[in-house]
Symmetry: C2
Subunit: 162 residues, 2 copies
Amino acid sequence: MKNSPILTPEELLIQWQGHRSLTRRTIKRFPDDKLFTFSIGGMRTFGEMCQELLSMTVPSAKGIATGTWTQFGEIEGAPITEPVQTKKELLEMWDWSTAKLEEFYTQTDPERFQQTDTAFGQWKGKVWWLLFYAIDNEIHHRGQAYVYLRALDIEPPAFWER
Amino acid sequence: MKNSPILTPEELLIQWQGHRSLTRRTIKRFPDDKLFTFSIGGMRTFGEMCQELLSMTVPSAKGIATGTWTQFGEIEGAPITEPVQTKKELLEMWDWSTAKLEEFYTQTDPERFQQTDTAFGQWKGKVWWLLFYAIDNEIHHRGQAYVYLRALDIEPPAFWER
């Protein structure tokens, strides 16, 4: 059966949320005073990287579902619209994003994944690829956070647990 | 059409190979004398992480295609079966793995992706998930290599180029 799917939309959502759950646990491992201050080699702090992830996640989920790509500040209902500055604020926004992502995702017509779109007026590709980019970018930065944690002598969460 | 696929097997192969290409360029950025010596926070060197990636990639592709999960040393035709020790050896094995991966992948019946299997007698899950795990693990460790490169004052390759 050539039409056998690789994975279903439900499975992709579980995969996405599994990664978000692991990133949340990674954020939690950081001491409050290191999340927005500690970095290596002139890179951003993990807190700043998470701000980037926040700015992509819900706007991407909305763009995927609706074809309308809006900036983070224009998404309705966000409890915090400024850059987050504390671990508490970051976790609050993370949880809001996780719920909002699911809300948009479950409204997505499965035909969208094979359509071509231009994310944020800039990145053109098939919708599945735009979604994978958001997940891959999160894995990439979380991997960097693992180095920060190890350099701080803190054990990161197990990579295989989602 | 509920049967619209998220992505096709051909697209997933391009995605996988795109990540391998980016990791190859990341390996190339390391100075020869740092790849197997430099690390942060007691972690493995990036050379050692790449050995792990080598040990997973072709055996995973073989397991996905055939249902037979064998250790790296038992895969026929590898030019080097011992752990690699130099950048030259690593790149040679990387290129062999990329070609071999494609050979196994193109033999894979698309129905495999939705089947459940146990990778290496240990990790049970749907075949798509086992494949995604190999890709995600590579993204994770490559993200760590970006921190090593920045700490060495070397610019990593652009994440969005594949």
